[in-house]
Structure formats: C-alpha cells, structure tokens
C-alpha cells in the first residue's frame, strides 16, 4: 500500500526535478528557494548528475543553457532578486529555443523587499521580464504534491516545446510541509528530448528534434536573430522567425493548459485563483456554501500562455454573474481576466501585499460584498430553506 510522506514544498520541487531526469543543476543561494539548491547539491553528485553552485544567478542560468546545449535536462531555482538577474538568460533561452526550467519562489519585492515574506507579484515579470517579444511558458502550483507534479510538467513542456519554462512558487508553498503520496517511478509522464531523424538533416532552430553540441553536426547557436542554421537573420526573415517561435507556443495554449475546475452548476460567483491563494479560495468556497452561497473555483496551473478559451468557457451559459481574482499583489492576473472577459461580467480584485496569505475569510467576505444585497437576501432565503 502506498504511504503518505511529510514533504516540504521546496523538497517536492527538487525531487520533481530529479524524477523528471534533470541532469544538470546550477544555482545560487537565495531565500526562500535555498532548500532546492541544498537538496540538489546533496542528491545530484551521488546520482551521477551534475550540480554546480555558480557565482551568481546570471552565471547560473547561463550555465544551465550551456549544459542544455550540451544535451542535459537542466534546471535552476531562485527568488525575486535572482529572478531579475536571470532575465537576460531567459531571453537568450527563448530565442535559442533552449529547453530549461527556472523556478522562482516568489517573495515580497521589489528589490530586497522582505526576503521571508510571501508574494505573487512576479507573474507579469515571468511573462515579460526579458526584453522583446518572446515565448515562455509559466506554470504554478498550489500544494506540495502539486509542486512535484508541476516541476515534472515544467520539464515535459520545456522538452516538448523547446522553450524555457518558469515555475512560480512562493515563500509559503516553498516552506509548507504536507503529507503527500510520493509519485512512483512511471506514475507521472516524463518526456525526453527527441533526437532528429538524422544528424545531417538537423537544423538547430525552428525544426524538430534536438542534437547537442558535439552530437555529430556542427552548428552555431546565437542570441542574435537567426535563421534555422543559427546564422544572422534580418528584416522579414527575422520577423518570420519570431512569429514562428511565438506560434509554436501560443498555438498550443489549450494543449498546455493545466487547471482544475470546481464549478457547481448553480454557482453565480467564480473565483479565478492560482498558486497558494487557491488554498484560501477552496476553503472560502466551503465557508460560503455553509452560508448558502454557491461559488465556483477555477484554479490555473498554466498561467502563460494564458488559457483564455478556458476562462471564456467557464462563464459561458450566463450562470456566472461575477468573477473574483484574489492574488498576492496589487493586480496582475486580474488584468488578463478583465481583458479576456471584456466586460461580460463584473470582475473584482482582492489583493494582499503585507507578506501574508489572503485568508479564506477575506475571500468569502469579498464575495459576499460583491454579490450585494440581492445575493445576500437569496443567501438568507436559502439558509432559511435549509434549516426549515
């Protein structure tokens, strides 16, 4: 029989990386991501894999990109200040179609901010932190088991789509310990890089398969706009390359949408939440139900590319009268939700930025307030009905 184990979020992340076959980890210590670095330092050499502590986060991401081109499955983990430093490398990884995983355990910012306090304020940075239009996939998780699974998924997406994948955790989730079923080998799908049909036919960019440096065909990798062989492209050719790069990711938005929908048929309120805030939202739904107010929850695990179709689908039918987006920032995901729903239903925001989690009570209260007097009376009628 499977046993449950007590596991910390950061441990689940590191072990998820190992499960996914991470061959190469480079990193730099930073709160609250340090445990990932420490676990990798302990585990990787004894498993015949490569770990190196680099001189800073720029070096860390540069090293994993180099290692990825040498054929390794690679990963690094950091937090806000380090994530800012990594933006340069993320841009390079995006334009060079480099598979790699970057974990950002979010903490209160900007700058040094409050290193030990939580936040979800790197959402837009994860999408747009590096300069220029570029593709990127951003995932998140709301629990310890979920962190394990989404780390594996981050590797799968990186390998399948040849793109840097960012996994957003946060200080609370990183340090949270929960009991989980430990994934058995084979239980979760692990995708590896596909070799090209032949080394001769291989083009390093814009094609299929992957051949490492030293793999039998000599090619050039560059962060400059380039053609399929890695030589400089300009004008229309550069534009076409960029469009193709974007299309490869954005064209698969729904294929890579990871989410859970807990929306009862009679729900009039929809909470759109992600990351650790999902936990408060889920509890809030229970609290509201006890008062006779039915709310639904849409948990997003894939944040970018944003699954617009999924959100539109969730409010289709006209049953949902209002949407609430709780997040640990001053309004980031809510902008995307507002943009997509385009005024079809009112969208309210609930932000908390004192370094602590949004509580279930705060969400329940926001919804009661948003629902207004009519919902209040309805709630009372239902409650009366329930007790009678």
């Amino acid at each position: 029989m499977k046993k449950r184990r007590l596991v910390q979020g950061n441990e689940a992340c590191a072990q998820g990386g190992l499960y996914a076959g991470c061959d190469f980890y480079a990193g730099y210590p930073i709160t609250p991501a340090t445990e990932i670095l420490e676990i990798m330092a302990r585990e990787m050499p004894r498993q015949g894999r490569v770990f190196i502590q680099m001189e800073d986060e720029i070096a860390s991401i540069s090293a994993i990109i180099g290692a990825a081109w040498a054929g390794a499955k690679t990963m690094t983990a950091t937090s806000g200040p380090g994530f800012s430093l990594m933006q340069e490398g993320i841009g390079y990884a995006a334009i060079t179609e480099t598979p790699c995983v970057i974990v950002d355990s979010q903490r209160w910012g900007p700058s040094t901010g409050q290193p030990t306090k939580t936040s979800q304020a790197d959402l837009m940075q994860a999408r747009w932190g590096t300069h220029g239009d570029h593709p990127v996939i951003v995932l998140t998780a709301s629990g310890v088991r979920d962190t394990f699974e989404m780390t594996v998924e981050a590797f799968n997406f990186a390998e399948r789509y040849r793109v840097p994948v960012i996994l957003l955790l946060d200080e609370v989730l990183s340090h949270l310990r929960e009991d989980i079923y430990w994934p058995e080998p084979g239980e979760l799908e692990v995708i590896d890089r596909e070799p090209p049909s032949s080394p001769e036919a291989f083009a390093p960019f814009g094609g299929h398969g992957f051949l490492p440096l030293g793999g039998g065909k000599r090619f050039n990798v560059t962060g400059m706009a380039h053609d399929k062989q890695g030589f400089v492209a300009r004008g229309a050719q550069a534009a076409a390359g960029l469009r193709a790069l974007m299309e490869r990711i954005e064209g698969q938005t729904m294929t890579m949408a990871r989410y859970s929908e807990e929306i009862p048929d009679d729900a009039e309120t929809l909470i759109v939440a992600y990351g650790i805030t999902v936990r408060a939202a889920r509890r809030a739904v229970q609290l509201l139900a006890a008062e006779g107010l039915v709310a639904g929850l849409l948990e997003l695990r894939t944040l970018w590319p944003f699954p617009a179709e999924l959100l539109r689908g969730a409010i289709q039918g006209g049953q949902i009268k209002r949407v609430l987006v709780p997040e640990l920032n001053l309004g980031q995901l809510v902008l995307e939700v507002e943009r997509i729903l385009a005024g079809q239903v009112p969208v309210a925001r609930l932000g908390r930025v004192d370094g602590y989690l949004i509580t279930p009570e705060q969400i329940a209260e926001a919804i009661t307030e948003q629902a207004g007097p009519s919902a209040e009376s309805k709630r009372q009628r239902r409650a009366a009905h329930a007790t009678s």
Partner: protein, 187 residues
C-alpha cells in the same frame, strides 16, 4: 481522537529553541497516526532573533487552507513569544508556557486555560537545555492526547541524529510526565 477536528497548534519560542523542529515532528507523528497534516513556519531573521513560530494542523479530512487561522493551542517557551502570541489566542483555547521563563502578568485575567510547566528546567536536569523543545512536545501531547506516544517517539527518533536518540527519548518521556492529567491549569 483530536480534541477538535481539525486541530490547530501554534508553537512559539525564541529563535534557536527548536520550535520548527517540534512542528515538523508533530506533523510527522500526526501522519503516522493517520491524520492529514500541514506545517508552516515563520522563517528567516525572525526565526533567528526574537519570537519564532511553527504551526501545525492535524485533521481527519483534507486540509484546504494550510495556515493556522484560529489556534486551538499555543505553546510559548519564551517571554517574547508569549507576549506576541498569547494575546491573539481565542477564549476557548489552551496555552502551555514555561513556568520560569514566561511570566504571566497578574493584572490580566486569562480566559484561556493556561498550563505553566517547568519545561526548560526539566531539559536542564537532563543535562541539555537544547532538548527543551522535545520536553515541551512530550508535555503537550500528553495534555492534548493528539497522537499515540509510540508514534510520537518514532517521529522524534526519525528527526534526531543517532547519538542524541537516547537523550531525546528521555526528554520526551520527561515531558510526558509533566503533562500528566494531574497537571494543573493556572489560568
């Protein structure tokens, strides 16, 4: 059986008193007992200077929200920690403090049930103040009856290095003796 389901504990003291370890051990013991568990902590500078805390939820059902919202129990083994967290405790809750290092202000009357036990003194008698946390763990578990003593011991032994096993086992037993039913509430 949990006194409340879910049961929420806040364990507090000064940085370095091992409260986070106690939280992890209790969560582990809860898991052995068959409960769903969540353990969180205050972290960083706050855990090294001044009041530090670790929180545990034990529940028979899946835990939606993993942080302690209304603690059923507070452990404070430093004055700082008691001053900070004591006032936040709901009326119907239970507080365990160190009888020497925590002074209860006489001007206040506490609605909560408070136990003041010689936790740190007991650890000192065992020859190592560092096991105060495990003494406290033994005491609180005997008071609350959260998990079986066998599971608690197993969880403690999993988390301590081999050469300190005996010491920690003694600390746990000594703590349990402090928490026996005859222990009197002072508040």
């Amino acid at each position: 059986m949990l006194p409340q389901d879910p049961y929420q504990l806040r364990l507090s003291g000064s940085g370095g008193q091992g409260l986070i370890t106690v939280g992890v051990i209790l969560a582990e013991a809860g898991l052995l007992e068959g409960y769903r568990v969540a353990q969180t902590q205050s972290y960083g500078p706050e855990a090294r200077l001044g009041a530090s805390r670790s929180e545990v939820i034990l529940s028979s059902r899946p835990i939606a929200y993993p942080e302690v919202s209304e603690p059923d129990f507070l452990l404070s083994i430093s004055q700082d920690a008691f001053d900070k967290y004591g006032s936040q405790m709901p009326e119907k809750s239970l507080i365990l403090v160190d009888d020497f290092y925590v002074t209860l202000s006489r001007s206040e009357s506490y609605p909560q049930q408070i136990y003041a036990l010689p936790i740190i003194h007991t650890a000192e008698e065992l020859g190592n103040k560092l096991v105060s946390n495990v003494v406290a763990l033994g005491a609180l578990n005997r008071l609350l009856g959260l998990v079986s003593e066998a599971h608690l011991k197993e969880a403690v032994l999993r988390r301590v290095p081999a050469k300190y096993r005996e010491l920690n086992a003694s600390a746990l037993e000594a703590g349990a003796r402090l928490g026996r039913p005859q222990a009197k509430a002072v508040g």
